[in-house]
Amino acid sequence: MTDDLRDALQRLLVARFAAEADGTITLSPSHERELKAVLDLFREHRQPLPPNVRISRARMDGIGTIDPVAGTVEAGAGVPLARLEQELRQRDLSLGPLSPGMLALDLASFLEGPYAGLRVVPGGRLEALPLALTALMSDGLRFISRPSPRSAAGPDLDALFLGGEGRFGWITSATLRCFQRPRAERTAAYALSAPDAALSSLRTAVARGCWFRRVLLQPERDRVLLQAEVIGPPEGVERDLSSLAHEVFARGGRSQTPVPPAAAPALPEREVSWDELGRGLDEGRAATLYRIALDTVVVSGWTDGGLPLGGRGTPSDWANRDVLQAIAREADPLSVFGGAQ
């Protein structure tokens, strides 16, 4: 970053420009207009965002309209998900069963990072948490998608920003889908003879519509313990427990007394396939599962395998990297967002 640009950023942000001894610079604009001004400066100086500069949207942490009719909330990019969930619960709404790792993030990090803003819905499908997004594009113009439950108005352009690590633009706010606040939670525990049986029971129950907050899988010498925390409306929880029990018993499992659930520590999380989860159980590794979808699950505490969900990645790690980088070059020809590295 040139001195000219650095000076201009300091003048713009004053106290919200923080330079550390190790050379790291954190820019903390207070609102979208200021963020746009930051972006404009990089563009005017024809410089990409250097690796040592971090754009913090922590100050853009407003919670806007909470609409109980549609079940949506408007939230700024910097709002911590844990705080948002607290606010929503007071209005009888919820973001759904998020993992400790997700709840530790702000909205922008959850949407743009490796979690890609995905939550699981009953039936086991992964679905984007935002119904609509507002983002700043590289030319400073605003990308605004229309809140709609589904659309066939061309490709889903929100997908560029979800998991996009800020390479296509910076999310400034989003309209998020909320569930009704789960009014019931029950824990059920079972013992099954083998990991295969446990995973098959669980996956089938998910496909049937069971909705889990968390599932613990503990392989022991001659059996696997499965403990599931089921959430939802009271009648829904009863249905889900019945379905899960049916699947477990059909595979020769037996009921167990649940162990009181411990508070979940914020351990590193990884997204793993069901195959990989099965291999881990076969090796005797216990697993605490969140976001239990038909595609993948989020495992807390594993240090290898799957996709690490902490921190940020780079486009060089992306699937379909060549095409996505070509799109990034077209969307950001001056490489303001770091370009297509």
């Binding site: 949506t72 594009m137 229309r146 439950p149 589904r150 998991g163 633009g169 939802g232 699937a319 095409v323």
Partner: protein
């Protein structure tokens, strides 16, 4: 765009570039190419009602220069290579069931019929996925899955005449989308050939980065040609439960639907017919099916032939009269269907019924819903008969969040009432909102007046819907029909769509003139 008189019995001449490309394509595809007028004519349109009006007037939509029939992905790659070399457009073609003019060859070019890519793989019982090629017809795919003990859960009313690739191109929805989702929800990954000729395959999770599949699905042939997809399947349902309920007003019915979905219930079908649609259903009850799937079914079976015979064109030309008469009706019919695991299905239906009764509903028993299910595909055909009768009909499907649904309904009805007879049903419901499916019937004094009214109708209706907060399409796509409103909806964000286009199709050969590109 030029519309050619059929009476001239002459299609636009085949371009020089097309002739040059045809020779190469013929060699690459071992002769599976046609420049015959009949084939060009057959591939000149889809089921867009405006194109039907043109045909009635003796005109045809702009045809392609040629039609090709690739048999595998390698041949699709070769077609793209040749088209790039000759700078000639390619128009991917499934089964032609689109209703927005998405396949019209507005700049000429080659129609690429993908129906010979029709293989369906074995279901993986562990991951509950199947890979299928893009040209397979919907009904063939579903029957194949049923024979293996599964269902895709995707049942568009066009299922007999639409392909997997067409579904992907238009972000299609089936009648059971509330449970199984739209095609973009059930797609785990896609294979496609970009306009660069590059083959892309989007991997299953876990993976890093944006989901390229969601950027290609809905691109209506402007970014890629789909060749295959990996789809989520479900065990064939053990049981279905049906329920019909009557509500005193649209508002009450919509509120019941909203509460159902907000409560976490997951009916496969929830369709609320507005009062006049409900009244039409009641009129036809003694004749057979009590609950047609949409106005189009009623139009086909009962109403329009009778209207066009018994009412003068002049009456249909003044739809305000009929719309005011429709205001006399009040009550609405809600059709519910649940399916899946037996133990859950019955319980969910019981909860849904109780919730509807608490919201003011009156239980009509199972029969209205069972009738709907029996007749669920009795739509989408014989639209031309409507046109033959001297009128035109069309449908508009938009979507909105629950807080806006009633406003969209009222505004569209008010805006369209002077132009067309209009009814609506609410379906494809989700936790956050639903689709509103409007059906229009109108007439004009002559062909020119009809086309003028048709354009006026769409401008008016979409403008009203969008200004009330709806998206321009829930599942029919954009085509030629909704480009103006799509441009408005995208606003400055259209830059990202243009960036996608330049990256995926730098020569602009894929279905030019669509999606505002």
């Amino acid at each position: 765009m030029s519309v050619v008189p059929v009476s001239a019995a002459r299609l636009p001449p085949i371009s020089g570039a097309a002739h040059a490309a045809a020779a190469e394509l013929g060699r690459a595809l071992k002769g599976r190419i046609s420049l015959d007028e009949q084939d060009r004519l057959a591939y000149s349109r889809d089921m867009w009602p405006k194109a039907l009006l043109w045909v009635r007037e003796g005109r045809i939509p702009p045809p392609p220069d040629a039609v090709v029939w690739p048999r595998d992905e390698a041949e699709v790659v070769e077609i793209v290579r040749i088209a790039r070399a000759h700078r000639i457009p390619l128009i991917p073609f499934g089964a032609g069931s689109g209703v927005c003019g998405g396949v019209l060859a507005v700049q000429g070019g080659i129609a690429v019929d993908l129906k010979r890519l029709e293989r369906v793989g074995r279901v993986d019982p562990e991951s509950l996925t199947v890979e299928a090629q893009a040209g397979v017809l919907g009904e063939v795919l579903e029957r194949n899955l049923n024979a293996q003990g599964y269902t895709l859960g995707h049942f568009p009313s066009s299922i007999y005449m639409s392909t997997l690739g067409g579904w992907l191109a238009a972000r299609s929805a089936g009648q059971l989308s509330s449970l199984y989702g739209k095609i973009e929800d059930m797609t785990v990954g896609v294979r496609a050939v970009l306009g660069t000729g590059e083959v892309v395959a989007t991997p299953q999770r876990p993976r890093r980065g944006p989901d390229l599949a969601q950027l290609l699905i809905g691109s209506e042939g402007t970014l890629c040609l789909f060749t295959a997809a990996t789809l989520r399947v479900h065990p064939y349902p053990e049981e279905r439960a049906f329920r019909g309920l009557r509500f005193r007003t649209v508002a009450e019915g919509v509120e019941a639907m909203r509460r159902l979905f907000r409560a976490g219930l997951r009916p496969a079908v929830a369709r609320l017919y507005d009062p006049f649609d409900t009244a039409l259903v009641a009129r036809s009850r003694h004749k057979g099916p009590a609950t047609p799937p949409s106005l189009r079914g009623v139009v086909r079976a009962d109403v329009l032939p009778a209207l066009t015979r018994q009412l003068s064109a002049r009456t249909l030309g003044r739809p305000g009269w009929i719309n005011r008469a429709a205001d006399l009706f009040r009550s609405c019919l809600l059709v519910l269907m649940f399916e899946g695991e037996a133990r859950r299905t019955a319980r969910e239906e019981e909860h849904a019924r109780a919730l509807c009764l608490r919201t003011g509903g009156e239980d009509l028993g199972e029969e209205p819903a069972r009738n709907w299910y029996r007749e669920r595909y009795a739509v989408s055909y014989k639209m031309s008969k409507v046109v033959d009768n001297g009128a035109f009909a069309d449908t508009m499907e938009v979507a909105a969040t629950w807080d806006k649904v009633l406003d969209v309904y009222e505004r569209v009805r008010a805006a369209v009432a002077p132009v067309a007879f209009v009814v609506c049903h609410f379906s494809h419901a989700y936790q956050e909102g639903c689709s509103l499916y409007f059906s229009f019937v109108a007439s004009g004094s002559d062909d020119v007046d009809q086309e003028r009214r048709y354009d006026q109708l769409w401008r008016t209706a979409l403008s009203a819907a969008v200004s009330a907060g709806a998206t321009v399409s829930h599942h029919h796509g954009v085509g030629l029909l909704k480009q103006t409103q799509l441009r408005e909806e995208l606003g400055e964000g259209r830059r990202m769509l243009e960036a996608l286009k330049r990256a995926c199709d730098p020569d602009g050969i894929l279905n030019p003139g669509k999606l505002t590109l």
